[in-house]
């Protein structure tokens, strides 16, 4: 079976796939133990599977393992942990910006990518950056507040 190599959360990763067109999502979840990215639609319509590839928010449900080879992949597990959360994760926790939390992976990864590019986004910029990420519980206003909180914390050198 062909092997594919990439960087995953700061370390080298190698994964075998019988199909070069296997979406990265299934390999992350089933071979590499990263359950943060979620299967939502398989159609790049909802954002639940979002990871960062070379820093860019990317839908792992339609990114093939062949496309990911040689790249740097970051999942939500790689951003931080419950004890040492990334400022975006800390802001989501502080704002209690989740209900079921199934979309939260995508929200946090999209927000992380946004803040990497635009450290102090306006509310409209945040809405635009997150418009491809769907939430059905209706936690949108909290998510927007969390993005703003993370941006403000970064500006002030705080955690969140």
């Amino acid at each position: 079976m062909p092997a594919y190599e990439f960087r995953l959360n700061g370390a080298a990763a190698t994964v075998d796939s019988w199909d070069p067109n296997q979406p990265l999502l299934y390999l992350l979840r089933n071979a590499l133990g990263m359950h943060g990215p979620k299967f939502g639609c398989g159609l790049a319509q909802c954002g639940a599977c979002t990871v960062l590839i070379d820093g860019k928010a990317t839908r792992s449900c339609i990114t093939t393992v062949r496309q990911a080879a040689g790249k740097t992949v970051t999942t939500i597990e790689g951003l931080g942990s419950p004890d040492k959360p990334d400022p975006v994760q800390a802001a989501f926790i502080a704002e209690q910006a989740a209900q079921c939390g199934y979309c939260t992976n995508g929200m946090i990864m999209a927000a992380r990518a946004l803040l990497n590019q635009t450290p102090k986004p306006t509310r409209d910029q945040a809405k635009e950056a997150l418009k491809g990420n769907l939430c059905k519980c209706g936690t949108h206003t909290r998510i927007l507040r969390a993005v703003e909180r993370a941006a403000a914390a970064a500006a002030q050198g705080r955690r969140a």
Partner: protein, 708 residues
């Protein structure tokens, strides 16, 4: 930290009742251990204190509840209620939810009963335990179980003394959810577990004619499972299983003829009724309508809607040859699911264990129970644990739907503009006793119940305002095209949409401000309070509609208000919103929303606000966008482009005021604030443009048609 001695103020010391883990997330510990029978059996009879709580050797307490946290915050709120009665700090109380081997059956988690039943029963058990502990002589050790029944008269703490209840304590699951560490049912794995996918027919009711297994010969390690019309693929590799299910060549017969979603209202009106019931009958509505100074009538329609779970339903089942089975599921009702799976698949109930694990928000009966049946049938057939996750088209296409509703409303005003008569006639799916049929069992030709239920669809169909002559007639239609089920605030969103937009029409006809018209007809002080509060928050100025200052260009601005007492017996909710309507395109933009909410005792104000905000946003989504489309054979809105929901650019600002009544009983809050959102939205569009929206969703095309 306080010692047990301190906290119980009795000097007694306790010996462990049961040895269960007491990590911050007890559920995780219980679930990783959960397999077959628990090593340490405990009672689950809801009559016994020991079913609800165990005091551990380390001074912590584990609470057991049959209710489950569907993302609603029950996981923290029930702990707060128990901690309060036991005088324990919250971090000494852990919670295990929805495990049929460990937790009492407290009914399914629906209808906003998580706290009103789940929390209240736990609280009473904790109060009983407290009394038992206080009766021990100083220094005496208490060993083992309480061996006592829950005392319905055990005194509860005076709310004035509350230290934990009423505090915005953060939800314990969020750190793990925000860092990718939370175990959802979609993430749960077992040794030797296979992945499974089920191939549903291309038309509802179609029969499987043939399967060409050679069509997937090139896909490694997959196996086709066929039982009559049930067709599945299992494999070691998830992607191989998905491709196998996608690429398997099959032929099916034609299905059952469906009426299609176009013209559904007409179909419903002409459907055979199983029953006609008059559920409200005050005065003589027919005569009073005849003698009214002014008469009005309108017809409202609400479409089929999907639960729209962001993660498709998933379950893991391990069925053994000895007939024992363990099923991991995010069902709202693990106990009910256990009973039904046992009955349908012929597994002895005492050997079946259902363990709840979080899933994606379901908001009612989505595909969770069907996918559990899929997993059980596949596991039973192949003799290995099987995980089935539905694909997106499965969830949108096959989740049982929030049903369509048709309402005719008539009213008459007297010469002073008071409501003299009101009559509502509605058409809803008939309730049929028994479990909702499971797709897998029907397909496999296994006998089962064909119950039909979608919740209490008929409440809130008459106005909450003074009216001497009121009649509500329910036409229960025998057959409904798509399998119905409970969807958040069942029936009541459509009913309040009809009642509250029609109320605005009456206010308009009476020449009164919509708020003033409502207050004139409302005597319940809690209702008056939420309306006045929301008016103050919103900055409501008294005037008639439409808005005389709606704007010069094509974009018109308006405001709307709506009020309801949920189920006519529970929460009081008033909601006001401001919208922009682009009359050139028909697009509605909601700018800001204010909501005042009284659910009696508030247990966790932040978790409660999260629920209220969520109810409002979700209902805006349902009112603006959501409609299940189907043709003569199948559902055609099977993804997020054909079934769009609200997105971030459409999100208004939302301000919520909680009116706390610690002295009053608590009321569930998972649904109530949904019911006013669609009505206030339609009223705001009328205020902006004069257009009357009576059919949901309020798409640009419908807005333009209403403007024409």
């Amino acid at each position: 930290m306080i010692s047990r001695r301190d906290l119980l103020k009795s000097g007694c010391t306790l010996v462990v009742g049961f040895r269960f883990q007491s990590s911050a997330l007890a559920q995780d510990a219980a679930q990783s251990a959960a397999y077959g029978k628990p090593a340490d059996p405990k009672p689950v009879d809801p009559k016994e204190v020991d079913s609800f709580l165990a005091i551990n050797a380390d001074g912590t307490v584990t609470i057991y509840t049959g209710k489950v946290d569907l993302g609603t915050g029950l996981r923290i709120a029930i702990r707060q209620m128990a901690a309060e009665e036991l005088d324990l700090p919250i971090d000494r109380v852990t919670l295990v939810e929805g495990d049929t081997a460990l937790t009492p059956d407290q009914g399914s988690t629906g209808g906003s009963t998580g706290l009103t039943r789940g929390g209240v029963e736990v609280r009473q058990a904790a109060a009983t335990a407290r009394q038992a502990l206080l009766k021990l002589p100083p220094g005496q050790r208490m060993s083992g179980r309480f061996f006592t029944n829950v005392d319905p008269k055990a005194p509860l703490k005076d709310p004035a003394q509350y230290k934990v209840v009423g505090k915005p304590i953060p939800r314990p699951d969020l750190p793990a959810k925000c860092t990718g560490r939370h175990t959802y049912v979609q993430d749960f794995q077992l040794p030797r577990m296979l992945h499974g996918r089920v191939i549903r027919p291309p038309a509802i009711g179609a029969k499987l004619v043939s399967v060409d297994e050679s069509s997937i010969r090139g896909i490694p390690d997959v196996r086709v499972v066929r039982i009559e019309n049930f067709l599945g693929v299992v494999g070691k590799d998830e992607w191989a299983t998905i491709r196998g299910a996608r690429e398997l060549k099959t032929a099916w017969s034609a299905g059952t003829e469906l009426p299609g979603s176009d013209g559904l209202a007409q179909y419903v009106r002409q459907s055979r009724t199983a029953q006609i019931q008059t559920i409200v009958n005050r005065g003589d509505a027919a005569a009073a309508l005849e003698s009214s100074a002014k008469r009005f009538s309108a017809t409202y329609f609400w479409p089929n809607q999907s639960h729209g779970s962001i993660g498709p339903s998933c379950a893991v089942a391990d069925v053994r040859v000895d007939g024992s089975a363990t099923v991991w599921s995010s069902s709202q009702g693990p106990h009910g699911l256990r009973q039904n799976l046992s009955k349908v698949f012929g597994l002895p109930e005492e050997k079946v264990r259902v363990v709840y694990l979080d899933g994606a928000g379901c908001y009612g009966g989505n595909g969770n129970e069907d996918v559990a049946a899929d997993a059980v049938l596949l596991s039973k057939t192949v003799g290995q644990p099987v995980r089935v996750q539905w694909m997106r088209h499965d969830e949108h296409g096959w989740d049982p739907k929030g049903p369509q509703q048709l309402l005719d409303v008539e009213a008459g005003l007297d010469t002073e503009g008071h409501i003299q008569a009101w009559r509502t006639a509605m058409w809803v799916p008939a309730a049929v006793p028994g479990s909702r049929p499971l797709l897998a069992a029907d397909a496999a030709g296994i006998a089962q119940d064909h119950g039909q239920g979608a919740g209490l669809l008929t409440q809130n169909a008459d106005p909450p305002y003074t009216a001497a002559n009121v009649q509500v007639v329910v036409n229960s239609i025998a057959a409904t095209p798509l399998r119905p089920s409970n969807l958040r605030a069942p029936g009541k969103i459509a009913n309040v949409f009809a009642v509250e937009t029609f109320t605005d029409e009456l206010a308009h006809a009476a020449g009164l401000d919509p708020l003033a018209f409502r207050l004139r007809g409302l005597s319940d002080p809690r209702g008056v309070e939420v309306l006045k509060r929301v008016a103050e928050m919103f900055g409501w100025q008294e005037r008639g509609s439409p808005n005389p200052n709606a704007g010069q260009g094509s974009v018109k601005i308006g405001r709307g208000i709506a009020y309801a007492r949920y189920k006519q017996a529970e929460n009081y909710v008033a909601l006001a919103m401001e919208v922009e309507v682009d009359t050139a395109t028909g697009k509605i933009s909601v700018r800001r929303i204010a909501c005042a909410h009284d659910c009696g005792l508030v247990v966790n104000p932040d978790a409660l606000k999260n629920q209220i905000e969520g109810c409002i946003v979700q209902t805006l989504s349902r009112a603006l966008h959501e409609e299940v489309r189907f043709d003569a054979s199948r559902v055609t809105s099977v993804d997020w482009s054909s079934y769009p929901i609200l997105t971030f650019p459409e999100i208004p600002t939302i301000e919520v005021a909680l009116i706390n009544h610690p002295e009053l009983p608590l009321l569930g809050a998972g649904e109530a604030s949904c019911v006013t959102a669609a009505a206030a939205l339609a009223n705001a569009v009328f205020d902006a443009t004069g257009a009357k929206l009576r059919v949901a969703p309020f798409t640009p095309q419908r807005v333009k048609a209403a403007l024409a």
